[in-house]
Symmetry: D2
Subunit: 159 residues, 4 copies
Amino acid sequence: MVLEKLISNAYAESLKNMRFGDKSEELSEIQSIILNSKRIVVATNNEKKFKVVFDIISKVCNAEVLMLGISTNSADLTRMPALSKGLIAVDSTDADVVISRGRLGIPGSGSLLLIMDKKGRILTGAMSSSSLIHKNRIEDSINLELTIALERIGILVKK
Amino acid sequence: MVLEKLISNAYAESLKNMRFGDKSEELSEIQSIILNSKRIVVATNNEKKFKVVFDIISKVCNAEVLMLGISTNSADLTRMPALSKGLIAVDSTDADVVISRGRLGIPGSGSLLLIMDKKGRILTGAMSSSSLIHKNRIEDSINLELTIALERIGILVKK
Amino acid sequence: MVLEKLISNAYAESLKNMRFGDKSEELSEIQSIILNSKRIVVATNNEKKFKVVFDIISKVCNAEVLMLGISTNSADLTRMPALSKGLIAVDSTDADVVISRGRLGIPGSGSLLLIMDKKGRILTGAMSSSSLIHKNRIEDSINLELTIALERIGILVKK
Amino acid sequence: MVLEKLISNAYAESLKNMRFGDKSEELSEIQSIILNSKRIVVATNNEKKFKVVFDIISKVCNAEVLMLGISTNSADLTRMPALSKGLIAVDSTDADVVISRGRLGIPGSGSLLLIMDKKGRILTGAMSSSSLIHKNRIEDSINLELTIALERIGILVKK
């Protein structure tokens, strides 16, 4: 209920034009949701991609980290594939936290990684260039995106 | 119609499990939509933020660049404020390209900049950390986000 | 977890092209979520509209039925105002079930009522014509929409 | 540009709390977009379903009416399958108007038909009960939904 209360307060501030940027208690709550999660579902059924996420996220939290049983490729026919993949995991599992990765928008738009809570609310994320631009291995891209997604809300990943 | 055809082909590839990442013709088309746009609307009515976007985007294209006449603050009560702001501009103007910037997700989740086409399809984007983490001036954050959003699809901005 | 399992099964069926319409256990689960909810939030801060929903929903379930503390009018600047209103309630409260009502799409498109669960998943809904077409009192429209929304998933409301 | 101007005005009214329901010029514009469309795409590759939509829509407008070349079944793994199907057609064709039909929400939630414009903005729609409740033939359900979707914005279909 803490997060709901923070969101309710932020919405009330926005309605009064009294909202002046992110607050430290909001950031703390986002960190707390991720660090204290018991069950994290990675919205992929690709073992290689899962392994990269598993290795990093296991450094920062004690959660059970699971791969999704069903394919999320169908999300590539939506406007925001990374978001749609995440919602497949939110809606079909009882995860506390979902980590998804996929295309940002239309074909050619590069990739987006998102971390969501159990209701599908977006906690943080990160992007990579189109693979045509960066030429990195996909494992390295996922590694970098997840590390940045965590760092931008103040969770540092030890190398 | 070029973009529609590329999307149709990419969707057909995904359905056949024959999709292997972004293609150079998709990237070229995204670049072409942005570089050849005639009318770009920035989804803000804040003159200071508009000015930063205007200065950068004017370096890479010849479009008329306009500020939105109406406030987009109401988007802060949606799940993806940056996306919702952009769609306000898409739906209420005849822009070829829309540039929007706002919160990524819930309060505390930091910011997201998106570049969309006239139908609201996402072409590229970039994120910043929560302002509590980075402590930069907002003008510098917008400048950096827009520059990265363009670079990740291969459009370089001269300093 | 029952609903998550049903959704997971349905998604797996769709992926195998073995999905042949709604199933009775899915319908039973939707009924069960609504009839056994403990806390229903109506996504409005308008007392008159709340009262209409309260009177009907109280006939079919024993839940605490609450009005939302904050205005949802900002949702009128989104592509699906009724949906956006519901998500404001989902994200800012700990409701088991949310009932929202607002415009279906663009201005002029008439109204939509939605019943969602705690994650924002849509359980059922109903529409009215544009108010220019039907000329009914708003209380009568809401009454009718909610009754139809419940009936279409097999929950009959006694007059 | 007429629709963009109407939407812009409606949004400005909402921001000033001066919005009092649908307006006749908004309804006229929605009717005009549908009645004067040149190219309507039905977001299905099922010939039987296409035929039902074709027969009705051809009574009210002179447009070329086309079936989508690619399957939209993948949309069943999204939160609003009918909406996602429609957006597949919007994004992959140059239709003026798109007609889509699919599940409203989660499995068991019954069906939704939507009529959208070229940008994916929702013009009108209609719902059916879960097929477990109504027991109608699917052709009859589609026929009824499309007729109601048109009537609720003031377009009458001759029998």
